[in-house]
């Protein structure tokens, strides 16, 4: 117990957030909104790490470090993804994911 807040609350919160992100990823057509959904998913994972760390192993810091690295990776991923999106936009003046099926051939 973290002063009245059980671990499962955190987990349920992150679960809800994760699947909202999944839903967004599966439904949104715009590439940038899909990217935002991915950010949601990453964020929910971060919450998990932090909550486990704080409530179960308060004397360690692994969860926190993982979160730091996840944030760094997310930043890198977002920058590359946005570069790709801009590139695609230049080519086909559209960032609709459903139009991007040329590579299947």
């Amino acid at each position: 117990m973290f002063e009245g807040v059980p671990l499962s609350w955190f987990l349920i919160l992150s679960t809800v957030m994760f699947f909202v992100g999944v839903y967004g990823f599966l439904v949104r057509k715009n590439l940038i909104t899909m990217l935002m959904s991915i950010e949601l998913i990453l964020n929910s994972v971060c919450i998990n790490f932090v909550a486990f760390n704080k409530i179960l192993f308060p004397e360690h810091m692994e969860g926190m470090f993982f979160t730091i690295f996840i944030i760094a990776v997310a930043a890198a991923e977002a920058s590359v993804a946005i570069a790709i999106i801009i590139n695609i936009y230049r080519r086909i003046v559209n960032i609709d994911v459903e139009k991007m099926d040329e590579m299947k051939y």
Partner: protein, 638 residues
């Protein structure tokens, strides 16, 4: 000892001519090819004459026995220490005689063709093939071993194929060349199996070893047997099958008449004088072995005799003059085969062998002459058919005289060459088997008849209306005719019993007038009948044909042998063997392969839909898969 190694050049010169004309011929005027080819062959001819002189009169004979000399030898393929294939030049009486025959006739054909084929398309191609043929034929006759012979044997087959199909724009020529090639190939299959049997049991390909009296074939014959006959007998019969195919013996003769589709000089060279006697030469070459297997030798005799009679009857009914000559060739080769079959070994016993070689020699001259004359006639009237000719003696005087000489020679009228050789064959047959003698005797009469039927039909008979007056052939064609006519006249005086004999010992020959006189008589009877029937147009031939209705029809259609072959190959082999196999191949073998590819194709067509390129679809499938797996592992897989 005299060095015969230069003889390799007799063989190699035509080969280099082939390379030269074949690859460079189209760079120059066509006439250059003809002149170069003829000149090169002239050198070969001179060398052959020189070799013959040296061999027969200077160094070859030691104590009245002709030596067997390996003029040149080189190891070509080595299997084991004893079994290897060599290439070389084998000098003995028959090979030297064949050198003379081949180079002479080939030279004549070369010279003749410069006139005959003047202006034809593919002139230099023709000369290239002619040189190739000459090379192959010379390589065949000088073979030191049976495998070298086989190689060149196939090579003459190829060049024969190429030359028959020279006018490749004509369907009949193409069909004829294919027929010749396939039929002889079929026979050569037997030859090859025979060679393999012989070499397997004797351990050598070498003629010298094979035919030596103490060699592995004769001294210590293999003891193995197969269906009641010794392996050696089988081998020799199979080898004879190859010879029969090449020499157009019944029933493998069907290609020869069709081969007349080739240019006439080719018929003269290949299908009259040289290649078709290769079978006779082969049997003669292996004669010391044949003499030890009487069954095979008996077969040779009867096949030869039957073929000669069979062909002679057909020849009487044909109207295409080249076909008559083709059947006549077959008939004469049958004579030679028969003579070999009735021969014994050594001295006067070996009369048949000597007579066969003698006849081969004289036949080469008069038959080549006949063909070249036929070429001159066709050249003049532009037709092959007897009933479109007649009364040509005034227009073609030289051809007329030379053709007459050739006819007299083949009919066996003394003192022309054919008389001597044919007489010896009849004597040999008489001493061996009366039935064979009678057949040959009848054939002699038929020969005289059908040759003079041609002669009277062409040069006498009713005068035809020609589009333009027929004219005598140019000098390049008449000179070979005259040369060969001299050969046909005087070749009979060559004392063959002093030159070419079965055991290479010389013996004295006496003319047996008791045989000779009846043979002259029957020849004269044949000529007389032809005279009566064909000198002036009469109704007699038609009446006889009518009287012999069925028989005449059968002979006119060549006794339906072609139809029989067609029936066997098409109706039986194609329809009942090949077609089911083809069906199996097409439907079962191909079908299963096609089925596999069809299934793959269909499956991939279906699966292709999954790969839509829609990223979110993939993600949905992935996530639902993950969820389902999680459900399964948590609740079902406990």
């Amino acid at each position: 000892m005299f060095d015969f190694s230069y003889t390799i050049w007799i063989v190699l010169i035509p080969f280099f001519l082939f390379i030269l004309i074949g690859f460079l011929g189209n760079k120059f005027k066509p006439a250059v090819s003809g002149i170069v080819g003829s000149a090169g062959l002239f050198i070969s001819w001179i060398l052959s004459i020189y070799t013959a002189y040296k061999y027969f009169f200077v160094v070859g004979r030691v104590d009245d026995v002709y030596q067997q000399i390996i003029g040149y030898n080189t190891l070509w393929l080595r299997f084991t220490d004893t079994l290897h294939i060599d290439m070389g030049v084998f000098i003995d009486p028959i090979s030297v005689m064949m050198l003379i025959v081949v180079t002479t006739v080939s030279l004549m054909a070369h010279i003749y063709s410069t006139g005959y084929l003047k202006g034809e398309k593919g002139f230099e191609r023709y000369y290239a093939f002619l040189s190739l043929f000459t090379f192959a034929m010379l390589g065949l006759v000088v073979a030191t071993n049976i495998f070298q012979m086989y190689i060149f044997w196939e090579l003459v087959g190829v060049s024969s194929y190429l030359l028959i199909g020279f006018y490749y724009t004509r369907d009949t020529a193409v069909a004829a060349s294919k027929k010749a090639f396939i039929v002889t190939r079929f026979a050569d299959l037997g030859f090859l199996i025979g060679i393999l049997l012989l070499s397997y049991y004797c351990g050598t390909f070498d003629f010298l070893t094979l035919t030596s009296p103490t060699g592995p074939a004769i001294g210590t014959p293999p003891a193995a047997t197969f269906i009641g006959m010794s392996v050696l007998t089988w081998a020799m019969i199979l080898i004879f099958m190859g010879g029969a195919g090449k020499s157009a013996m019944f029933p493998l003769h069907i290609w020869l008449p069709d081969a007349m589709e080739g240019p006439t000089p080719v018929s003269a060279l290949i299908h009259a004088a040289t290649m078709v006697v290769a079978g006779v030469y082969l049997v003669a070459r292996l004669f010391p072995i044949y003499i030890t297997v009487p069954i095979a030798l008996q077969l040779v005799a009867w096949v030869g005799a039957f073929s000669s009679l069979f062909a002679a009857i057909i020849a009487c009914t044909q109207y295409d003059i080249k076909r008559v000559l083709a059947y006549s060739t077959m008939s004469q080769i049958g004579y030679m085969m028969c003579a070999l079959g009735v021969s014994g070994m050594g001295g006067h016993e070996g009369l048949g062998y000597m007579a066969s070689m003698f006849h081969l020699f004289t036949h080469a001259f008069f038959k080549a002459l006949l063909f070249l004359c036929a070429g001159a006639i066709i050249h003049a009237v532009h037709s092959n058919y007897l009933h479109e000719m007649g009364g040509l003696r005034k227009y073609l005087p030289i051809t007329h005289i030379t053709f007459l000489i050739a006819c007299l020679a083949i009919a066996g009228i003394p003192p022309f060459s054919g008389f001597f050789s044919k007489d010896e064959i009849l004597v040999a047959a008489y001493h061996h088997d009366t039935a064979l003698f009678l057949i040959e005797y009848v054939v002699a009469g038929l020969t005289a008849f059908y040759m003079f039927r041609l002669y009277f039909g062409i040069f006498w008979g009713k005068k035809q209306d020609y589009h333009h007056a027929p004219h005598e052939a140019p000098k390049s064609m008449t000179i070979p005719l005259i040369f060969l006519a001299f050969g046909a006249m005087f070749a009979g005086f060559i004392p063959f019993s002093h030159l070419v004999t079965s055991d290479r010992h010389i013996f004295e020959l006496h003319t047996e007038w008791i045989i000779a006189i009846p043979s002259i008589v029957i020849a004269l009877v044949g000529i007389g009948v032809a005279w009566v029937m064909y000198l002036k147009p009469t109704g007699i031939p038609g009446k006889i044909a009518h009287a012999l209705h069925g028989f005449y029809r059968a002979a006119y259609h060549k006794f339906y042998v072609d139809e029989l072959y067609l029936f066997i190959t098409q109706k039986i082999i194609f329809d009942h063997i090949s077609k089911p196999i083809a069906w199996f191949d097409r439907h079962i073998v191909d079908g299963s392969m096609n089925g596999i590819s069809y299934v793959t194709n269909q499956a991939s067509d279906r699966i292709k839909g999954f790969q839509s390129g829609q990223l979110q679809q993939y993600a949905l499938v992935f996530v639902s898969g993950a969820v389902i797996l999680a459900l399964v592992f948590i609740y079902l897989w406990t």
